[in-house]
């Protein structure tokens, strides 16, 4: 049975020999969440291929939600096992299913439960059929899970690639839009570049320590004092650069605004949530648990990274007039907050980062879903003016968006408040007072642009038109002063000039828009033309949005369970 050591992979075989175990044991229950996602993904592909006629996108969404729920339940069962019996190590020590990994497994499963709900409405609206969105999301999620439970740099890299490659494709999913293709290309080129840097970091680390296994590297560094540590520090630096690219930390953030803006909006939300979850999982594990002895070398670097990320993310977001772009810069700002926990390099800091990643994932998914709804068909209307008076036109959506934005700003009674509180607290406890101050300053700057959108949504400027002229209430509410935008489009058809728009509006794509257009009298049509297109919601998006908001508010008012979870996760490192 010695030969079966080869099975564990190139690295595994060597490690098996080193640790004296001759038979590599693959504990399939330990990697069951990943297996569920990957197996389900294959079945989805097969179902799509074998079904005589194209399945509706909702069928795929239902299946994906089911798979993600199964993986969530499995992760929670594993969590119970791990708290009872301690961490599981399998596949020749290259996978370590501990509390830390399981926290991320739960986070990733939650993202995967919500993402298909938010994606289904969008895909139907843009008439993109096929299982690709869901299949790619599942692969990407399994990659992030492998990153979270990886105990070997090679597996971290594999997870990183499994996470990233589907994201490149997701960015270009709407291949009819030029911006989407451009985003995919940019993301691919820069992502491949950062992966190469990361691999070089692995190579140098291996050269310096003689192992790619995180536990062995940690043990080596604990036993030996590296007197000339140039290679090791170089490797560490390259690893950090690779991770910083993935989580979009300044100055490696250049791709973020363009990619986030160009990608289909639900894919943007998924990308932001998933890449950050996977990236930070591996980043925290590699740096805090493997290289604590080199803390004095990497902490200052992370300090600078975090400070730059916090400030650039917040300041540049202020001047954005495009909400999608603003949210991408704000996601950079959030990455800075998570880096705060890494810089502290304490159990408290890591717990804060974990909590932050979990809450951020759901908040960002929901936020981008709202942007997608307001952007309307064709996805070219994301400027701030579009959100004016949304509170009157779509009170439910506007309220949900307001809650999510307030959570991002860190308002009390939302998860965002505790997320920011814990990382800043951890930074202060680790005597990084300057960084804590920078973080709070950037939060204050960030609050400005979040609140601006909230005020805009609930400002009364949208109701300038005289009410009740034989028009439906909705048509009047949809109207707002002309001049900011040339003309609104009814459910998808862009109308260049107001004249002749009446004819165009009778045959729009959305049914609700058609009803509106037919029911308004000619006097009000002019108003409606200068107004906003109605936001076409779907029960799927509303359900997904509901989950995001519910989690944000419930755990914002009652954070204890989630805090306990994050805290325990760091104890079971």
């Amino acid at each position: 049975m010695i030969g079966s050591a080869h099975l564990a992979g190139v690295v595994g075989a060597r490690l098996v020999a080193a640790s004296g175990i001759t038979i590599p044991h693959i504990d399939y229950t330990a990697i069951l969440p990943e297996l569920i996602l990957l197996g389900g993904m294959l079945l989805l592909l097969a179902a799509a291929a074998l079904s005589p006629r194209p399945l509706p996108t909702e069928a795929y969404a239902t299946a994906t939600v089911g798979l993600a729920t199964a993986s969530l339940v499995t992760s929670l069962v594993l969590w119970r096992d791990v708290t009872d019996r301690g961490p599981l190590t399998t596949v020749a020590h290259s996978i370590d299913v501990d509390g830390f990994a399981l926290f991320f497994l739960v986070t990733i499963s939650c993202i995967l439960v919500v993402a298909p709900m938010l994606g289904a409405g969008y895909l139907r609206r843009e008439r993109i059929s096929g299982p690709e969105y869901y299949v790619l999301a599942l692969i990407s999620g399994s990659g992030a899970m492998f990153m979270a439970s990886a105990n070997d740099l090679v597996l971290v890299f594999l997870g990183l690639e499994i996470l990233s490659i589907p994201l490149y494709v997701l960015a270009g999913l709407d291949h009819r839009r030029e911006a989407s293709g451009e985003a995919a290309m940019k993301y691919f080129v820069l992502g491949a570049f950062s992966s190469a840097i990361f691999v070089y970091g692995i190579a140098l680390t291996y050269g310096a320590t003689g192992s790619t296994n995180l536990a062995e590297i940690g043990a080596f560094l604990a036993r030996n004092v590296v007197t000339s540590d140039g290679v090791l520090i170089g490797g560490l630096g390259l690893l950090l650069v690779g991770f910083a690219f993935k989580v979009a930390a300044v100055p490696f953030h250049m791709w973020t605004p363009d990619v986030y803006q160009g990608a289909p909006t639900p894919a943007t939300g998924f990308m932001a949530a998933m890449a950050k979850a996977g990236g930070f999982a591996a980043l925290l594990r590699v740096f805090v648990s493997t290289f604590p002895s080199l803390r004095s070398s990497w902490q200052p670097v992370v300090f600078v990274l975090a400070a730059l990320t916090l400030l650039v993310g917040a300041v540049v977001a202020v001047v954005q007039s495009d909400v999608k772009r603003m949210l991408s810069y704000s996601s950079i700002n959030h990455a800075g907050f998570v880096l705060l926990g890494l810089q502290a390099a304490t159990a408290r800091g890591v717990a804060g980062s974990l909590y932050y990643v979990f809450t951020y994932g759901l908040v960002v998914l929901g936020s981008f879903a709202v942007v997608s709804l307001v952007g309307g068909s064709g996805e070219d209307r994301h400027d701030l003016a579009r959100f004016r008076g949304l509170g009157r036109r779509q009170p439910v959506i506007a309220t949900a968006f307001a809650v999510l934005l307030l959570a991002q700003a860190g308002a009390p009674f939302t998860t965002g408040f505790f997320a920011k509180l814990y990382v800043v607290e951890a930074a202060a406890a680790a005597h990084s007072y300057l960084l804590a101050a920078i973080a709070m300053g950037s939060a204050a700057i960030a609050a400005f642009f979040y609140l601006r959108v909230v005020f805009l949504m609930f400002s009364d400027a949208g109701a300038a038109a005289p009410a009740g002229e034989g028009a439906t209430a909705r048509a009047v509410e949809a109207a707002r002063p002309a001049g900011i935008e040339p003309a609104g489009a009814a459910g998808g058809s862009w109308v260049p000039e107001p004249s002749g728009a009446v004819a165009t509006m009778v045959a729009p794509v959305t049914r609700s828009a058609a009803a509106d257009a037919r029911s308004v009298s000619s006097g009000v049509v002019a108003l409606d033309v200068s107004g906003e297109p109605p936001v076409a919601t779907s029960p799927w998006i509303l359900a997904g949005l509901g989950i995001c908001v519910a989690v944000t508010v419930v755990f914002g008012v009652w954070p204890q369970p989630l805090v306990e979870f994050a805290h325990q996760a760091t104890l079971l490192f």
Binding site: M1, I2, G3, S4, H6, L7, L38, L42, L43, L45, A46, A48, A49, L50, P54, R127, S129, G130, R176, R177, G207, A208, S228, G230, V231
Partner: protein, 151 residues
Amino acid sequence: MGSLDSYLPILILFVLALAFAGLSIFASKLLAPKRPTSAKEAPYECGIVPTEGPPQRFPVRFYLIAMIFVIFDIEIIFLFPWAVVYNELGRFGLVEIVVFAAAVFFSFLYLLANGALDWGPVKRIRPVTAAAQRTTSSTVRRVGAGSGEAA
């Protein structure tokens, strides 16, 4: 310093490679007789003389076929070493390779269903809705000759 010593052979090899390339170019410049003719200057010295340039764009299907080929090529690369140590690996190895082959096969099914191997006139497997500004006249450029018969 100690850890860097082991990289010295790589550096030497690097220098040697550079020196070899440089010396070869220099030597051929110095020693080779130069009697150029038009045939020698052509990109390919033998074969049929080209009358027109190759088409700028190939149909996407060629690339699809190439990618499918690469996927199965990789599968074979994994199958060979597995076959060599089949007896040592036993049932466990068989299960693992079947899982791997199944993953490739399901992907292949998906490709087939999407018409990756269909030649001839395009069958619409899914309704294609293109953006209004993209039409056949704006995105497709006819290449090569045959101006009369193309219409």
